[in-house]
Amino acid sequence: MTARYAHLERSLGADLFAQVRSCKVLVVGSGGIGVEILKNLVMSGFGDIEIVDLDTIDVSNLNRQFLFRSKHVGMSKSEVAREVALQFNPDAKIVAHHGNVKEERFGVQFISKFDIVLNALDNVGARQHVNRLCLAAKKPLIDAGTQGYLGQTNIHVGRETACFDCEPKTENKRTFAICTIRSTPDKPVHCIVWAKELFKLMFGNAEESMLSGTEPDEDIADANKEESADPDANATNADAPSSAEIKEDQNKEKEIRSQIVEAVASRPSGDELDKDETVRAYARRVFDAVFDHEIRFKLQLRNGYKGANKRPTPLTFEEASSKADEDASGQQAGGLKDQRIMSLKECTDMFVDSVVTLLGPERRGSLGDMVFDKDDALTLRFVTAASNLRCHCFNIERKSLWDTKGIAGNIIHAIATTNAIVAGLQTLEAIKILAALKRVPVANATWRAPSASAEDTDAASPALTANSTAVWVAREPVGRGYLLQATGLPPPNPKCFSCGNALVTLSVDTSKFTFGDLIDRVLKGRLGVNLPSIMLDASELYAEGDGLDEDEVEFFEANKPKALADCPAGGIKEGTIVDVEDFSQDMKFKVLVHQKVYDAEENPDLFEVGGEEPVAKPDAKEDSEEKASADKAESSSDAPVRTQEVEAIMSTGKDGEELVAVASTVVSSSKRPREDGEKDHESEGSKRSKTDDEGAAAVVVSEIDLAGGAKASGDDDGDDDDVICID
């Protein structure tokens, strides 16, 4: 027993070690990061741990969630993680909860019994939720996230540092102009999006497919308008099509569209579907319509591909299926089948075969309701084949099934090493916070009244996070060659709607935007409210969740289609303030509405949150503000007031038995005032740290690999389900 902990006691000191042994830790999530944390915790002597995870183990987890083995597939992640972690250290007490952290049983009361909460979650919604629970329960939260090679850990302590919501989360969604998809693709992803739309048109809800309309793309017409309005921009302006010509083009465009829609609609039905020949002929008709006729027609259009560097080449079925492949075969000899780029003929065969199977007896029942699913091999085959054929027409490089799956499913591959690094950092930060908790009883130091200004925060009373750092994991060495970069923790944003006395401003066209949009797109979609209640003055306009009668639910639903301005109790208009409360969390905030009309082209959301309220940077010194702006995507820290150096030394230890990530040395200054002239320099958009013996923290992460080499390196195959978002 003593032997197990001797090194910890020596490196942490008896006091701190005793604290580590006795403190209660909650780990939310036992996936990629969670299993790493759990391993770190039990190996660092943490003795009282609870874990929550709603998931069960999937095959695709096994390459990096190293506590899990194939025999565990299908079992609860939290329970298996507990069981296996206990083998590392049978001395620890671990309680596993199989469930969603958003459930009521994991509410504020539950959180209150812990000393520290560690987040190991893969989605922003759940992280926001835990953040708010921790704010309400006044517990320090150590959050982390990874995205491929990038990662970060962050410490959120109530009103002492910025909380998870202080920095608005931008949605990382990709959008493409319709005409790029329909007419002018230049990247594989454009063709893949198109292929998904074709799938929808042929097998899913055709009306929702962007290929279903026969109207010409508006943007094509618009582009022409701009062109003729600006003579300087185009020397060949004389060539600009006349309006009659545009009209003609538009008619042609319409004709092409109708042809595609007709070809798709010519699907055999009834008994005909059982005749292989008939179905193959159908696949062929669609093939010719989209890969040959459409392109051929478009080449005739005046505005079609005028000036385009590469004009597309039509591809007939005949041609495609006869061509023994020139360009792709042999290009990738060897390798896994799914990672190989298929020849044109293979694509063509796959296109036809997948159509036949999709219309076959097993699938045909859901015709009209089918949805593309990256994990449904058949739908993936269709999309891969169709997108590759289109890529060929537009001279775009083709993609393998594997790559297509990644692109079509928006997959970012999780990397075990990044997970291990952030989990190690989280464990270190947890120990630092514990050390601080010892010095600074929570009641005295932190959780000041919300009105306390940032200056007070810096003043006399020691802070819980005095030694804490947020750490960013970069892909390329930054600054002086380090992959890890530590920054100070930004102060809370007083305008934050979670931890400040926030007023969220919402700019929107109140005559069009509906009450339902406010609920689904703004409150739930953007602000992460689970079960919103909306009050306008003394009128509750909406509520959901438990404890409502059926007629009440109906009553509230009836408000949803109304435009904001037409809402009951006087309407929601310019200057209206509504109160929002989340029934599932301890969160309340106000939304101030501004009337603003948006152009759907510029802002497809048709709303902006916090748009007119500048994000306040309390107490931020000018220098820190400037440098933040040029920061790279991986940094969302908006006012990194001071940087420290973290030296990460990955070394292999001698003791082949255990996997440990422990702080051997944690040296850090006390929190200095920021106006000491310490200034960071920009280097290729990233922050370079400055050495300062006072301000430097050296963290040595030693990692002892398991004898069996249990740690998977992440960038290989098999892993496709987990997208871990960083903010």
Binding site: L536, S539, G547, F555, A558, C567, A569, E581
Partner: protein
Amino acid sequence: MADFAKRRLTEERKQWRKDHPPGFYARPKRNEDGSTNLMFWECAIPGKADTLWEGGLFHMTFAFPEDYPSSPPKVQFVPVLFHPNVYPSGTVCLSILNADEDWNPSLTVRHLLLGIQDLLDNPNPDSPAQAEPYKLFTTDLEAYRARVKIEVRNNPPIS
């Protein structure tokens, strides 16, 4: 309107939704236009099991004053209930509903409804409010019981 009252009632509504005694209901009044009024609630209490009142569901309104919870809400049975301590207007005469008697700001809708439920079977003959039930209750208990049974039949639970 009074912000404090609103906040307090929002919280009471939340707590009620999370947990309330079975058979009761309490919620802000809903208007035709889709709005609701947090200052005016519609509530109902079931008659207690094993009492004369069992099987009935009795509806009432709670009108909260601007200075709630400094002052208690005004509680009225709709329709008027046959009960010695209910005024002909439907208003309930109960010490915890009286600012000069036992009301205190820590009492919530939940407490009041439970108190009123209790009052049904335990009328207070010292505070008569309605002539007929008072008379029957004090003079002819059999007739009183028969009359209450009619009252229960007239207020069936919502199916």
